[in-house]
Symmetry: C2
Subunit: 398 residues, 2 copies
């Protein structure tokens, strides 16, 4: 997909290097809406929240925003009052340069924890950052939010609402133990749809529940995780109404974009060699299916077996038994893709295990568990636990 | 400690190889009490329980037992009705050879999951196993329960009750992702104390809560975890009474032995290069302190930082924030041994971080977290997450 010529009316973008990242790569990004846009956002539920998260959580309560400022290389987390002050200072500079209210400026950071922002370096560069705003700087901002990501992550979508073409652009940076410190997941989305912030928040929440909240590399949640969406209404259709099918059309577009971004995040997780979709069905409830799926996805024994391409179903059964769900071990069935490896809680024999081993050699496969307890189901996307994962996360700073 | 001459009156031991382990090492063990002994036991809470666990759980309800049969190399787990039948068959053979009731025979297994026991090999060897019983075969049984353990794990204790010397012998095999399949933790204890099974069960439960339940390598719980204690009463003191200080004396002895065995298990965990005591204090409740301690101990990011000898306190704060506890991030203090690395949620500077880095170079150290929310406290023993851990657990069977 070539994003160079993909523009959304009324949105401008800019990114430069302020020297926060050591390698001189882009580390400041700015997304700007020419008019106040409706806004929605979701933030980390970690009790330890970075200063920019605390500030942005307050500001989206306004219902409208005009700018998202992001820096990489420093998370501005665990930096106390100084971190908040630095955030206010950046906002005031941007407010002057852009001629907009500070309350309309959202902040986001990713990078090392516990080190104050290099605020002078950043402040100096803000005029240049604002001067650089252009309708086709989208891909530059994607670059500016990358940390250990090996690939830029962006997707776009479009749909038709009441005869008008509506567009959506989305970007993300990686989950799963992002170097240098934590698994920060950032995603920014902009659209020219006309949608009030309350409905936008509702739809965003539902979509994130089905996408970003369904991926897990290692069960960690960072101090900085943030998803933001701006909708400037330029597509000029009547405002979306919750009861209309138009709202559903918009939601489908958002879902597809976020799904693709979520998949990109898992594929590009630290040290990932396998991407596994875990589907648990036949659970007593969806909630129990979720617990079972996460129980499997977070088991180091299961994850190292995936890395070792070992169809070790005993580890999966044991992870299930440890998941605090209703289950009868003698009724569990397990499949790798279409290969039944466990039937009624027992192995199906060496021939099928051989076939399952071939499935595990693929880079992407499905693990399906049927509990035969009810109708609950849940699926998530996860990865293996590799030697590189340990190397990457053990070697930081040393 | 030389165990060769440590005997407990009335207990006999035997161990041989039945060829279940590939390398011809001992894989069958038998602990025998000349008279029915009072018994207590604790078993895995994993819903997927191995056949020997299901059988032994039923049999200890009798209150007395006379033999513990154990095999390594095969867990007899996820083997369905066949697994149960095999367990009954072994019991009946032992019952005949020993001349004791089958209900007085407890079973325990560790090893590969999902493969039926090589029952013929085992059955053939039972007469030889019984013939080998001797008062000083203790260390042989310890050998027979080892799997990836690099060290045999045994401890003994003694105390004086109403003028009589009371002795206790304990053995254990490793936790933490035991090859070939799971983190099976087994511990068998024998004593000549005179104590009824109800009180023995109560004391064992309290002791296990403070010892084996306070260690974690990777948060896994196997299908076969088992702790059993036999008390034959040969020390000839009046039966212990819950209200007497004699019961406390016995409990202290058991606690010390189990504590030492638990420490040995963590030190010998798969791929372990560091043993870390995590102490959380100032939590709102002991329960919250426990959640926080496990939240830190199970965080792959924290564990890989330990392996990398990186005083990465941001990962610890983030794991806390993710632990579902009452906390004010701005009031958290963190120490590595005596070095304060975080004060009021913020780093204490590069000099102290350098000192903390030196602590992390040690093989054993303490991580102390103070939440300043209340009086709750909890401590556990854990390990790092190393490259060898992944190698060991990814390479099984391949």
């Amino acid at each position: 997909m070539n994003f160079a010529h993909f523009k959304i009316p009324g949105f401008l973008f800019s990114a430069i290097s302020a020297g926060i990242k050591k390698d001189g790569k882009k580390d400041l990004g700015l997304i700007y809406s020419e008019t106040p846009a409706h806004v929605a956002g979701l933030f980390t539920t970690n009790k330890v929240k970075a200063a920019p998260v605390l500030i942005s959580m307050e500001r989206i309560k306004e219902g409208s925003s005009q700018a998202i400022f992001v820096n990489s290389g420093n998370a501005n987390a665990c930096t106390g009052q100084r971190g908040i002050k630095d955030g206010y200072y950046i906002s005031s500079l941007l407010s002057k340069e852009l001629g907009i209210k500070t309350v309309h400026i959202l902040l986001s950071s990713t990078g090392v924890i516990g080190v104050p922002l290099p605020i002078k370096k950043i402040a100096q560069k803000i005029p240049e950052l604002v001067r650089g705003l252009s309708p086709d700087g989208w891909a530059d901002v994607v670059e500016a939010i990358m940390t250990t990501d090996t690939q830029p992550k962006m997707e776009w979508g479009s749909c038709r609402i009441r005869g008008k073409r509506v567009k959506l652009c989305g970007m993300a940076k990686g989950a799963g133990m992002i170097c240098p410190n934590l698994a920060t997941m950032l995603s920014f989305l902009v659209t020219d749809a006309h949608i009030e912030s309350l409905l936008l928040q509702k739809i965003l929440k539902e979509v994130v529940e089905l996408t970003y909240n369904r991926i897990t590399i290692d069960g960690e949640m960072s101090t900085n995780d943030t998803v933001l969406i701006l909708a400037n209404g330029r597509a000029d259709h009547p405002p979306l109404n919750q009861k209309d099918k138009d709202a559903q059309i918009f939601k489908s577009m958002l879902l597809e974009v976020c799904q693709k971004l979520a998949q990109q995040i898992v594929r590009d997780g630290e040290g990932v060699t396998k991407v596994i979709e875990i589907l648990v069905q036949g659970a007593k409830s969806d909630e129990e299916a979720k617990r079972a799926a996460y129980g499997i996805a977070h088991s180091p024994l299961v994850k190292t077996a995936f890395f070792g391409e070992d169809a070790n179903w005993g580890r999966i059964l044991s992870a299930l038994g440890h998941s605090d769900i209703s289950m009868n071990p003698n009724r569990v069935d397990i499949f790798f893709d279409e290969v039944p490896i466990v039937k009624n809680g027992m192995g199906t024999g060496s021939k099928l295990e051989e076939r399952a081993s071939k499935v595990l050699k693929k880079r992407t496969f499905k693990l399906i568990v049927h509990l035969h307890q009810g109708k609950g189901r849940f699926s998530i996307l996860t990865s293996d636990l590799s030697l590189d994962y340990v190397k990457i996360n053990a070697s930081y700073r040393s």
